[in-house]
């Protein structure tokens, strides 16, 4: 990752975030190059999900800076000063960063296809026929071509999560964030979702994945970051972090989940 000449797609420097006096992120610094997959591991409460939510400004950071594709998230530099962005600019930035949630969060009043096309039509101003064609293509890509007209309540958890991935892809994001995408799924449904994610990784999508699936991290990640207590404890290629962890906390965590 460090040997590339291009600037990193995602760059976080000394990111801090507190909730009601409790500091959950204590200066997170990391970089993800374009086309790379980073997996964030760590015990619950370690700040992984909070960090992920800071990347697309669902949470406002208290210190440090995050930039995606060279653009500061939530702030704009003008005339040598930094200004907080208004809601319209924040929305535009978020459109370029896809997010997949643990609880899917599909829009229940829309069909699978409508879930995917709502933002391209309403936000990007894509014409309906083009958006529908692209939506069907994405559904086909996640293996759900024949469920376009189903409502989320009629789909299994694994199918819902794959629709959610297609929804995120519909905005052609530069970066995809996954917040424990398989944690709410029955064990037999996890595989389908992970297969779709592996396919995306193979196609060169830049991804940051918070997960407990060590197998996925080992197979698909270019870099694994272990977080605990709001700091990055250890990071590196999966082979070194997962198989030869240096830090005792990493060792203890990996022993407990494997």
């Amino acid at each position: 990752m460090t040997d590339t000449l291009l600037p990193p797609l995602l760059s976080a420097r000394k990111v801090r975030k507190s909730f009601g006096g409790v500091e959950v992120l204590k200066g997170i610094s990391l970089e993800v190059a374009a086309g790379q997959v980073m997996c964030l591991l760590g015990p619950s409460g370690s700040g992984k999900s909070t960090f992920l939510r800071c990347i697309n400004h669902l949470e406002r950071i208290d210190g440090g800076r995050i930039s995606v594709d060279g653009e500061l998230i939530g702030y704009a530099a003008r005339h040598g000063r930094i200004f907080e962005m208004n809601r319209r600019e924040v929305a535009r930035q978020r459109g370029g960063i896809g997010m997949v949630f643990q609880r899917f969060n599909l829009f229940p009043h829309m069909t699978a296809l409508e879930n995917i096309t709502a933002a391209p039509i309403g936000v990007r101003g894509l014409l309906k026929p083009a958006a529908l064609a692209r939506g069907r293509e994405l559904l086909d890509r996640v293996g759900l071509a024949d469920l376009a007209q189903s409502y989320p309540a009629q789909l299994s958890g694994g199918q819902q999560q794959r629709v959610a991935i297609a929804r995120a892809l519909a905005m052609d994001p530069k970066l995809l964030l996954f917040d424990e995408p398989t944690s709410a799924l029955d064990p037999e449904l996890v595989g389908d979702v992970l297969d779709v994610m592996r396919g995306l990784a193979a196609d060169g999508m830049t991804m940051v994945v918070v997960t407990h699936e060590i197998g996925f991290a080992r197979g698909a990640a270019d870099e694994v970051v272990f977080m605990d207590g709001g700091v990055v404890v250890e990071s590196g290629p999966p082979a070194s972090v997962l198989d030869q962890p240096q830090n005792p906390r990493t060792k203890a965590f990996l022993d407990s989940v494997m």
Binding site: G98, A119, A164
Partner: protein, 333 residues
């Protein structure tokens, strides 16, 4: 033996195999329990007793000499009464429509992060929900006593764009509509707010994560889901509104109740005319529950796996039941 499809085998006839066509569940299996359903004799007794009571009340009303039945039938379709019914309906529909738009605005203001909007919404709801509707109606009806002229200009200066007589600008009908609408908006705002609060936080996050603005999220994601929670109490409010229009009689708006009291003050048939208006109110409230059903059905899509059948579909199902599977017999020739 001829090959008759439904002929019962006579005594001593060889057992025949039934070949089911269609639903297997309709074919009786020897292992199935053939039970007598639980009987409910008391339901019949109570129903019969209630029928007797209702019949007695109906007969006593019918035979009451203090009620002049021809008067009821004379006035139920009276021109003035019909005009009043139309005005009542117009007042109900217009005030509900306008107040709902206002209510969405107030609810969004109340839930926004903007402290000014928040306080303004709170103040509005506090004022309009905290005073009796009757007093608000009188207030708007007699606004001319408070401000004889209404002037549009710049405050604390002599500059004015125009100035009109209050009673010209706000006749009784407008005052009534204004009172009902502004009062209802305060109540509806709380219903809309409850509906919006019922939408999961994850829906906002999902909408924001695909780049939707807060306004777009409100109209495309939050309100359509909130509608499911909003519609039943709004149905209630609509029915209340229909009946509350009768309060406008205090400022002489010619809705159906005002008309009825005017007629009965001349012919002194108070009871008969109250029966006439009651019939109309009952009829209108019944009619108003029809759009509610279809609205609920529309906004319920996606929430249940199958939508409830429409009344028409129900009637259809009773009139033309699904064909029973026929059982063909394979008799030996």
């Amino acid at each position: 033996m001829p090959n008759l499809p439904f002929a019962r085998p006579g005594p001593g006839a060889p057992p025949v195999a039934a070949v089911p066509v269609g639903n297997d569940a309709d074919v009786r299996d020897p292992d199935d329990i053939d039970a007598v359903p639980l009987r409910h004799p008391w339901r019949w007794v109570i129903a019969a007793a209630l029928l007797v009571v209702f019949a007695a009340v109906a007969v006593s009303l019918w035979q009451n000499d203090n009620v002049n039945h021809p008067t009821i039938s004379e006035f139920i379709f009276d021109r003035r009464i019909l005009d009043g019914v139309v005005l009542t309906l117009v007042l109900t529909i217009v005030s509900m429509a306008v107040s709902t738009v206002l209510a969405v605005l107030l609810a969004v203001m109340r839930l926004s992060n903007n402290p000014v909007m928040n306080a303004l919404s709170w103040l509005y709801i506090w004022a309009f929900r905290g005073t009796p509707l009757l007093i608000q109606i009188v207030f708007w009806g007699y606004l001319g006593l408070l401000y004889a002229q209404i002037t549009l200009g710049i405050p604390f200066t002599d500059f004015s764009l125009f100035s009109v007589d209050t009673n010209t600008l706000i006749p009784a009908f407008t005052a009534g509509l204004l009172a009902l609408t502004l009062n209802q908006a305060a109540y509806s705002a709380e219903i809309v707010r409850a509906g919006m609060l019922s939408v999961d936080e994850g829906q906002y996050e999902a909408a924001y994560s695909v780049g939707m603005s807060p306004t777009f999220t409100l109209f495309k994601v939050v309100l359509p889901q909130a509608m499911r929670v909003i519609i039943p109490p709004m149905g209630n409010e609509t029915i209340s509104m229909l009946k509350n229009t009768s309060l406008l009689s205090v400022i002489a708006v010619l809705e159906v109740y005002t008309v009825a009291t005017q007629i009965s003050s001349q012919n002194l048939r108070q009871v008969e005319l109250l029966v006439v208006v009651s019939c109309w109110y009952l009829f209108l409230t019944s009619v108003l529950s029809i759009p509610q059903f279809y609205l609920e059905r529309h906004y319920g899509r996606g929430n249940a796996r199958t939508l409830p059948p429409t009344p028409l579909a129900r009637v259809w199902a009773v009139l033309r039941p699904a064909p029973r599977p026929t059982i063909e017999r394979a008799d030996a020739p």
